[in-house]
Symmetry: C2
Subunit: 199 residues, 2 copies
DNA sequence: TAGATTGTTAATCGATTAACAATC
DNA sequence: TAGATTGTTAATCGATTAACAATC
């Protein structure tokens, strides 16, 4: 969130930002902003605030997005295509190294600079290249199988874009991003809004 | 999360689940599971556990996904197409009522049961139909403009799929789901993992 | 009756925030 | 010097969890 806001500020704002400014844009308490940042170091100047560019650099260092990271994408459907062609990935140093799909008709298709490969080649690719990040954008049924193959191939961090509950071995980080979960969350707020309106 | 896990349990598990079972699958402390549920009512039976089907019903009532909800989708690119054709939406009672895009070439295209309309018709559509949920899947530059139009048209809950920081009027719920944010989050864990490995 | 498991209390733990000295 | 704003302490607040009586 901070990175997003700061990149925005760099474009059109002054070169310096206070915790109050950042707090307003992120809807986070200014004291919280300062505390979050000081957890990693002392980046501001008393009486002045934070230099936007410097702070962006620092946060990128902390996150590790100051250098590039290759990843594999499994699933070349609509979602996979959206992820692969998403410009923001490259802007933050992510390189889609290879794309795999089980569907023969999708193999050979070009997405951005990458040609979709058969899922059968996933194993070998992971052995040849040391890739640590994998994105799962396959039908829910196949999610666990893909996760197993990725883990076996040395992938340490997975982003699961299916609603399927996936089990991974210890030492592997799994992050779930289910679009429906987000919508259901949304819906809960909507119910409450309308509930309030009805009363 | 609970809903996901319970739907999974309904498929292949026994008809009853304890807070320990749910806790294991969600990696949430059993006491937390019980506390979360009792916040909305008393759904379990001492000595027995929770009836899976009943609990699913209750959670769907709480979330509001026990009846259908129409939504509009703005943006018919890869991401929009992925969202619109995602089966899970319908399964949870979401109906993609209309899809809009600014790109003339996409207007008239069919995604699922819906024909993509020109963004110029968004205003009228929102006036004609009382739609409360909007999904923003457009290029970042256009996000704010779309949000403004949605808000003006009576949309109360928005899901923003762009990395753009979007401002909405009071009373409108905005949820951000930036895929890059998720990846950067992931990256932080990866840096830490590798940092530990290096030491 | 014995074992299992909930709902809930009480204790713990951690996160948030107000406040302020330090300092630009 | 006066105003602004950080970094950090101390106080507050809320979330998590252990423990257990209630009860199936």
């Amino acid at each position: 969130m901070y990175l997003n806001v700061l990149i925005q500020l760099r474009q059109d704002g002054p070169s310096t930002a206070s915790s109050a400014t950042v707090g307003q844009l992120t809807e986070i308490n200014p004291a919280q902003v300062r505390r979050d940042l000081t957890h990693f170091g002392s980046f501001g100047r008393r009486g002045i605030g934070y230099d936007v560019t410097t702070l962006i650099d620092k946060i990128q260092q902390i996150l590790g997005s100051d250098h590039t990271h290759r990843l594999v994408l499994v699933g070349a459907g609509h979602l996979g295509t959206a992820i692969a062609s998403y410009d923001g990935l490259r802007r933050h140093g992510f390189i889609v190294s290879a794309i795999f799909d089980a569907d023969r008709r999708k193999v050979g298709k070009r997405i951005g600079d990458v040609i979709v490969q058969s899922i059968d080649e996933l194993d070998r690719t992971l052995k040849d290249q040391a890739i640590r990040i994998g994105i799962i954008a396959v039908p829910p049924d196949a999610a666990q199988e893909v996760a197993d193959e990725l883990a076996a191939g040395g992938v340490r961090v997975m982003l699961n874009y299916t609603p399927q509950v996936v089990n991974v071995p210890e030492g592997v980080q799994l992050h779930n991003t289910d679009p429906v979960r987000e919508l259901l969350h949304t819906l809960y707020y909507l119910s409450r809004l309308e509930g309030v309106a009805r009363v």
